[in-house]
Amino acid sequence: MINLIQNETIKLLRRRRFAIVIGILVAILAIVSYSQYRQLREQRNRNWRAEIQQRVANYQNTLRRGRINPSWQRSLRAEINRLQFYLDHDIEPDKPTAPIFVRTFANVAGFLLLPLLVGVLGSDIVSAENAEGTDKLLLTRPVRRWKILTSKLITLWMFATLTLFCGAVLSYLISAPVLPRGGWNAPMFTGFTITRAGFKADTIRQLPLWNDTLIAYGLEWYALLTVASIALMLSVIFRSSAASIGTMLASLIGGTIITRISPDWTAGKYLFVSALPLADYYTGEPPPYDGMTMTFCIGLLGVWAIATTIVAYVLFTRRDVFG
C-alpha cells in the first residue's frame, strides 16, 4: 500500500497540481495581507471604543425602524450583543495581527477557497487515468482495484491536509512581515449561539487564540476530507478531467450561491455545501438554515463522505473498462 501511495503522490506532484494550488494560495494571501497592512496603518490612531459604540447605535436604530425580515433582525441582534460583549470586557476586536490573520484565514478560505483548491487537486485523480489511457495498465497489474482506489483516496486526504497546513503556515509567513507577529495568547470569544429566542451569551467560551485556531483548523480539516471524498467519487464517475473538475467546482460554487440566495428552500440544508463552513459556524456565524447545529453539520458531512466513498468504490471495482 505504501508503494501505491508513493506512486499516486509522485503522479499528483508531477501533474503540477499541487504547485498550482500553492501558487494560488501565495498570490491570494499576499494581496490580503497587503490590504490588512493598509488597514492597520489607517487605524493606528483610531478610537476603537467610539467606533464600536457607533456601530452598535447604528444597528439599534435599524432595528427600531423595523420592517426588516426576521432572519436579518436575528443576525443584527447577535452582532449587537457580540460587539457589546467586547465593549463590556474592554477587548479590541478586528485588530489585525498575524495570528488573527491565520485564524481568520480558516473562516474566510474555508467556505469556498480551500474546498475549490482541494477540488482542483483531486477531481481528476481517477478520470485523468481514463483520459490518458493509463487505467488499462494500472488495472492489469497484480493489485486489486479496491487497493488502487484506497491509495488514491489516502493520497487525496494527505494532500487536502497538506493544503490546509500550507494555508496556515503561508498565511503566517506572508502576513508576519507586515502585521504584528505576536498575540497567540489573546483571548478569543466563540460560541455566540443564535436561537429563535435571540442571542445567548452563556455558551460563550473564552479561549486563547492558539487554541481557538487549532479548533477552527481541525473543523476545516474535517470539512476538506469530505470535499476530497466527494472529489474522488466525481473523478470515478466522469471519464474526462475537465468534466470531473468542472462538476466539482460547479457544485461548490453553485451550492454556495443556492444556500446564500434562497434560505427559504429548507431542503438546502442537506446539501454538503451548507455544512462546509464549519469554522464560520464555530465562530458564531449563523448557518443559512434553521436547525443546523454543529453536530448536524458534522454528521451531515460525515454522511456525504461515507455515501460518496461507497459509490466510488462500488463503481470503480465493478465497472467494465472500455476504451
Partner: protein, 306 residues
C-alpha cells in the same frame, strides 16, 4: 487429460461471452495458449478482438465463460493471474508527464521488483539511452517499446500485446518480431493481435480468426494455409476441359481461362495427361498456396481487415 492440459497452458479462455444490452459482442470464444507459443489473434474492426483482450486481462467482466492464466482464474484469483502476465491493451499509453524511467519505476513498485529489472527490460527493448526523457517526447515506436519493457518487468510467463506492430516502421516491426520470437524461445507465451496478416504469418505459430464475435478458424499457420491448397491449371479451352473433368467426377472451380482443383501437386500428372490426350493444351499447372490474407477474406466474407 483435459485438466492436465489446462494446467500447463499459459492461457485458457473458455466460452468467453460478452453481452451488452441486446448485442452479443463476443460469443463463446475459446482458445488455449501453450508455453513458448506465439499466438495470433486476427479479426476485422468490430469483430470483438479488443473486448476479448480486455476480458483476458480482467478489465471487462465476461457475461459468461472464464479466463485462466497459468491456472489462475482471472476473476477469482486476480492478483495471482496478473502476476503471470504483462500486457499492452490497444495503445501503449504510459504517463506522458513522466520519464521512461519514472514510468518503469511506477510499475516496478506495483510488482515489487527493483532497479536491476528496470535496467534489464530497458536493455531488452533497446531504450536504455532514452530512459530519462519524458514519454511526451517519445515517438510512437519508442512508446511501443517502453510498453513492452513495462510488460516484461514482472518476469511474466505470458505477454498479451494488442497490435504491437502499430506505428512502427518496417525495421521496427522486424525488430519487434525478432524480439518476440526470441522471448518465445525462452519459454514465454505471447498473445498478439494484429491487423497485419503478413506479420502474423511470419510471427505466429498458431492463429485464431475472430469475426462477428465468434472464432471462425483456429489452428497452426501451416495447417490453415495448407487446408486451402489447390492446383491452378491454365488451359486453352476452359469449356472443354470442364466437360472432361465433369465426366470423370473431378471437383474443380473455373475462373476465366483457369481451373482450380483442390488436389496435391503429385496428383496433377494424371489430370494433365487426360487433358492433353483429349486435345486441351495445358500452358501451366502450378500449386497455388493461398496466403493467410486470402483465406482471411474467404472466411470473413471479404470484409476489410482492420
Amino acid at each position: 487429460m483435459k485438466a492436465q492440459a489446462s494446467e500447463t497452458s499459459a492461457l485458457v479462455a473458455s466460452n468467453l461471452t460478452k453481452v451488452i444490452g441486446k448485442r452479443t459482442i463476443v460469443d463463446s470464444v475459446s482458445f488455449q495458449l501453450r508455453a513458448g507459443e506465439v499466438f495470433g489473434f486476427l479479426g476485422p474492426n468490430g469483430a470483438g478482438k479488443t473486448t476479448t483482450i480486455r476480458m483476458l486481462v480482467g478489465l471487462i467482466r465476461p457475461t459468461a465463460g472464464s479466463v485462466k492464466i497459468c491456472g489462475y482464474d482471472v476473476r477469482h484469483q486476480f492478483e495471482d493471474a496478473m502476476r503471470c502476465i504483462g500486457c499492452i491493451v490497444e495503445t501503449p499509453d504510459l504517463y506522458r508527464f513522466m520519464t521512461g524511467r519514472e514510468n518503469l519505476e511506477h510499475f516496478a513498485r506495483m510488482l515489487h521488483v527493483g532497479d536491476s529489472d528496470i535496467e534489464r527490460v530497458a536493455r531488452i527493448v533497446g531504450l536504455s539511452h532514452r530512459l530519462d526523457q519524458r514519454v511526451r517526447e517519445y515517438s510512437l515506436g519508442m512508446r511501443q517499446r517502453l510498453g513492452i519493457a513495462q510488460a516484461l518487468l514482472g518476469h511474466p510467463r505470458l505477454l498479451i500485446l494488442d497490435e504491437p506492430a502499430n506505428g512502427l516502421d518496417p525495421a521496427g516491426i522486424r525488430e519487434i518480431r525478432e524480439l518476440l520470437r526470441g522471448l518465445a524461445a525462452t519459454g514465454l507465451s505471447v498473445f498478439v493481435s494484429s491487423h497485419l496478416l503478413a506479420e502474423i504469418e511470419l510471427m505466429c505459430d498458431r492463429v485464431a480468426i475472430i469475426h462477428k464475435g465468434k472464432i471462425l478458424r483456429d489452428g497452426t499457420v501451416r495447417d490453415l494455409i495448407s487446408s486451402q491448397r489447390a492446383m491452378e491449371f491454365h488451359v486453352t479451352d476452359v469449356a472443354r476441359a470442364s466437360a472432361l473433368l465433369q465426366e470423370r467426377n473431378v471437383p474443380f472451380t473455373p475462373n476465366h481461362d483457369r481451373l482450380f482443383l483442390p488436389i496435391e501437386e503429385r496428383d496433377a500428372a494424371p489430370i494433365i495427361r487426360t487433358l492433353i490426350d483429349n486435345g486441351v493444351d495445358v500452358f501451366s499447372a502450378r500449386p497455388r498456396v493461398q496466403t493467410l490474407e486470402e483465406m482471411f477474406i474467404d472466411v470473413t466474407g471479404g470484409e476489410s481487415v482492420d
